[in-house]
C-alpha cells in the first residue's frame, strides 16, 4: 500500500510541471493582455496614453519579456517565495485576493460533498431496492427537476421567497456585523448558521445526479451472481444488501471525489454571484474577463492541483476499499 502511494506521488511531479506550463499558456492565448484592457479603459475615460507610458507600464508589469521568461519568473516566485504574482485589477498579491476566499470555498465544497452523499446514497439505495415503487417514482421526479433546473435559478427563487415572507436577506456567508470583522469564535458560529442555504442549493444538482448514479449502479449489482450466492448461504436480506452490492456500488462513486473537488470550486460561480458569496467563483470569472493573467493563471494552477490531489485521494481510497485495484487488476 505504501509502495503504491509512493509510486503515485512520484508520478505527480511531471504531471504538475506540465499542468503549470499549460495553465500559463492558456492565459496567454487570448489576443491582448491586461494592458490592452487597461489602456482601453483609460482611453474610454478620456485619458490619452502615450507610447512611453505604455512601455513604462509594460516594464512595470514585466510584460516586455518573452513568454518563457515570464513563465520562469512566475514559477520561481511560486516555488521559492510562495508568491503567485500580483493581480493587476485588484492591485494586491494574488495570494491575498484568493486566500480567504479559497478557504471559504473549500468549507462550502466539503459541506456540500457531505450533504450530497448523505442525502443521495440512502435515497439511491432505496430507489434501487424498491425499483418502480411509488417513492422511487417520486424521488426520480424530484431528482430530474433538480438536475434540470439550474442551481442559480433555485437560489434566486429561494432568496426572493425568504425575503418576501420574512424580510431576511439570506445572501452572503456572514451577517452584516461579521462581514468585515476579524475571525473569531462568534464569526465561525455565524458562518455555520448561514452556510446551509448555499450548501443545500449547490448540493441540489449533485444530489439529483448522484441518486441516479447510485440507483443505476446498485441495480446492476443487485442482479449479480454473488448476491444470489450470499442469499443461497442464508444471509439475511438487509445484511446482504450492505455487505455486498452496496459496498461494490459505492466504489465508483469514490473515484468521482477527484473531480468533484474542483467543479464545486469553479462551477458554482453564478450561484455565488446570486447569493453574494465571498468565494472564488466570481473572482475567477472576473479575472478571465479582464485578462488579469497572474490571478487567472494561479486559479487554473490551483484548481488543477486540487484535481490532481482529489484524484490521488480517491485512488488511494479506492485501493483501500477494493482489493482488485490494490493488487493490480483482475486476471480472467
Amino acid at each position: 500500500m505504501i509502495h503504491y502511494i509512493g509510486h503515485r506521488l512520484l508520478q505527480l511531479i511531471p504531471l504538475l510541471i506540465a499542468i503549470s506550463i499549460i495553465a500559463f499558456v492558456i492565459i496567454q492565448l487570448p489576443p491582448g493582455d491586461y494592458l490592452t484592457t487597461y489602456i482601453n479603459q483609460l482611453e474610454l475615460s478620456g485619458t490619452k496614453v502615450s507610447e512611453s507610458a505604455i512601455v513604462a507600464l509594460e516594464r512595470q508589469y514585466g510584460l516586455d519579456k518573452p513568454m518563457y521568461q515570464q513563465y520562469f519568473i512566475w514559477m520561481k516566485n511560486i516555488l521559492l517565495h510562495g508568491d503567485f504574482g500580483r493581480s493587476f485589477s485588484w492591485n494586491e498579491p494574488v495570494s491575498k485576493v484568493i486566500g480567504e476566499r479559497l478557504v471559504l470555498t473549500m468549507v462550502i465544497s466539503i459541506f456540500t460533498l457531505i450533504v450530497t452523499w448523505l442525502i443521495a446514497i440512502p435515497i439511491g439505495i432505496y430507489s434501487a431496492v424498491r425499483q418502480y415503487s411509488v417513492l422511487d417514482y417520486i424521488f426520480s421526479f424530484i431528482g430530474f427537476i433538480g438536475l434540470a433546473v439550474p442551481n442559480f435559478l433555485i437560489a434566486l427563487v429561494i432568496v426572493y421567497f425568504v425575503f418576501d415572507t420574512t424580510g431576511i436577506a439570506i445572501t452572503g456567508l456572514f451577517s452584516p456585523e461579521y462581514a468585515d470583522a476579524p475571525w473569531s469564535f462568534a464569526k465561525v458560529l455565524d458562518l455555520l448558521q448561514r452556510i446551509w442555504v448555499p450548501v443545500l442549493i449547490i448540493a441540489t444538482a449533485g444530489t439529483a445526479g448522484l441518486i441516479r448514479t447510485m440507483r443505476g449502479m446498485l441495480l446492476d449489482e443487485l442482479s449479480k451472481q454473488y448476491v444470489v450466492t450470499a442469499r443461497a448461504k442464508g444471509v439475511a436480506e438487509k445484511k446482504l444488501l450492505f455487505k455486498y452490492p452496496v459496498r461494490v456500488a459505492v466504489n465508483p462513486l469514490i473515484s468521482t471525489i477527484g473531480w468533484t473537488l474542483p467543479t464545486i470550486i469553479s462551477g458554482e460561480a453564478i450561484v455565488s454571484i446570486v447569493l453574494n458569496l465571498p468565494t472564488t467563483g466570481p473572482v475567477l470569472l472576473d479575472a478571465f474577463r479582464t485578462q488579469d493573467m497572474y490571478l487567472a493563471g494561479s486559479f487554473i494552477l490551483i484548481l488543477s492541483i486540487l484535481t490532481v490531489i482529489g484524484t490521488l485521494l480517491s485512488d488511494i481510497l479506492l485501493a483501500w476499499v477494493d482489493p482488485r485495484i490494490r493488487f493490480g487488476g483482475v486476471e480472467e
Binding site: V228, K233, G234
Partner: protein, 352 residues
C-alpha cells in the same frame, strides 16, 4: 393451467425412508408485461439420501430456475408455487417441512439455505464477491448456521478447504477470489457450500466455466465428498457425458417440464422420448467418425403463450398433427423407474 388428471407423480416413493426431498407440481412463473413466462411448469422430482439426481436439458429448459425455486431464490418477478417437501431431523425427530410455503425472505427459509440445502454455481469468479476474502465468505456461512465463534469458524473453514484439496489453505483463507485459479475458486465454492454439512447439494453446471482437465478433478471431488459426507446431489448440466459420470437418476427437462425420468442406465440404453433420443444422438462418438454429427433442428421456444400440446412438437420427427398438439401430454409410467411425457410411445418403441 388446468390440472392434468392423468399426471403420474414421479417415482411413487412417498413413504420411502430414503427420500429426503420431494417436489410436486413445482411451477415458477414470471409475470412480465409481455405475458406469463412459464420457466418451470409442473415439475415433480424426488431426491434420495446419498444419491445424485442429474437434471439435463438445453439452455432455457428451466433446469436452473427449477433448482433456484427449491431455495426460493428465483430472481424477481419470478413466483414459485407447488410443494417442496424437505425431510429434516430436528431434536432427533424427523419432520417434513414444505419450503414452498415459507416466506422467501423469512428466517425459516434462511435456516434451510446453506445449512440443509446449499448450492454451487456455474462461474465461481462471479459467484464469489470480489471484494471479500474467500475466508470471510466461507466463515460467514458457518457463523450464520452454527453457534461457533470467529476462531472456531475459521478452523472449520480451513478444515473444509483441506477437504476440497486446496493447497496452502491457511494462505488461501486470506486471499481474494481473483487471486485464485478457476479450479481453485470452484473448490473454494464447494468448501463454502459443504461447510455446514447440508443434506442436499445443488450443483448448477459447476464445471461449465472450467477447462477440461479441471472439470474432471471437480467432478471427482463432488463424487468423493458425496460419499464421505453422505450428501445428496442435484446435478444440473447440459452435458450428457457428465450425467453418465455423476448421476444415479436423471430427469430430462424441456420447456419447463420433465419429459423423461429414469435411472442413468436406462437413459443411455433405453431412452424413449424423441427429445432424449435426439440429445443422445448429438453426442460425438469415437466409434462413428464418418458423416456429420446429428443436431436437433431449431431452438427451444420461449416458454410464453405456447400452443397446447407437446412443447417439442415443432422439432419432433414423430410429431403427428391432431395427436401431439391437442392436449397437455401426460407423464406416462413405462415401468417402475421410467416415466416419459409422450403420446407416441408405442410407435417409437415399435421402431426400436
Amino acid at each position: 393451467m388446468e390440472e392434468n388428471t392423468q399426471t403420474v407423480h414421479a417415482p411413487d416413493t412417498k413413504e420411502d425412508d430414503q427420500t429426503i426431498l420431494e417436489i410436486h407440481d413445482l411451477k415458477t412463473y414470471f409475470h412480465l408485461d409481455e405475458g406469463i413466462l412459464k420457466a418451470v411448469d409442473g415439475v415433480d422430482l424426488t431426491i434420495k439420501r446419498g444419491k445424485t439426481l442429474g437434471i439435463v436439458g438445453e439452455s432455457g429448459s428451466g433446469k436452473s430456475v427449477a433448482t433456484k425455486s427449491i431455495l426460493q431464490i428465483v430472481d424477481p418477478p419470478g413466483k414459485v408455487e407447488g410443494e417442496i417437501k424437505l425431510k429434516r431431523s430436528r431434536k432427533g425427530k424427523e419432520e417434513w417441512i414444505d419450503i414452498g410455503k415459507l416466506n422467501p425472505t423469512g428466517e425459516k427459509i434462511r435456516d434451510i439455505r446453506g445449512a440443509e440445502i446449499s448450492m454451487i454455481f456455474q462461474e465461481p469468479m462471479k459467484a464469489f464477491s470480489s471484494i471479500h476474502t474467500i475466508g470471510n465468505q466461507i466463515t460467514e456461512a458457518i457463523l450464520i448456521h452454527s453457534e461457533v465463534d470467529q476462531e472456531e469458524a475459521k478452523r472449520i473453514a480451513i478444515d473444509f478447504l483441506i477437504k476440497v484439496g486446496m493447497s496452502n489453505p491457511e494462505q488461501r483463507f486470506d486471499q481474494y477470489p481473483h487471486e485464485l485459479s478457476g479450479g481453485m475458486r470452484q473448490r473454494a465454492m464447494i468448501a463454502m457450500a459443504l461447510c455446514c454439512n447440508p443434506a442436499i447439494l445443488i450443483a448448477d453446471e459447476p464445471t461449465t466455466a472450467l477447462d477440461v482437465t479441471v472439470q474432471a478433478q471437480v467432478l471427482d471431488l463432488i463424487n468423493h465428498l458425496k460419499e464421505t459426507l453422505d450428501t445428496s446431489v442435484i446435478f444440473i448440466t447440459h452435458d450428457l457425458g457428465v450425467i453418465a459420470e455423476m448421476s444415479d437418476e436423471v430427469a430430462v427437462m424441456y420447456l419447463g417440464k420433465v419429459i423423461e425420468y429414469t435411472d442413468v442406465e436406462t437413459l443411455f440404453y433405453g431412452a424413449l422420448h424423441p427429445y432424449t433420443q435426439a440429445l443422445l444422438k448429438s453426442i460425438p462418438s469415437v466409434a462413428h467418425t464418418k458423416g456429420e454429427l446429428d443436431s436437433i433442428k431449431g431452438t427451444v421456444p420461449i416458454p410464453m403463450n405456447l400452443p397446447k400440446g407437446c412443447g417439442f412438437y415443432s422439432r419432433c420427427k414423430y410429431a403427428v398433427n391432431g395427436v401431439c398438439n391437442v392436449d397437455d401430454i401426460p407423464f406416462t409410467k413405462v415401468n417402475d423407474n421410467h416415466y416419459v411425457r409422450c403420446v407416441r410411445l408405442d410407435e417409437i418403441e415399435n421402431r426400436g
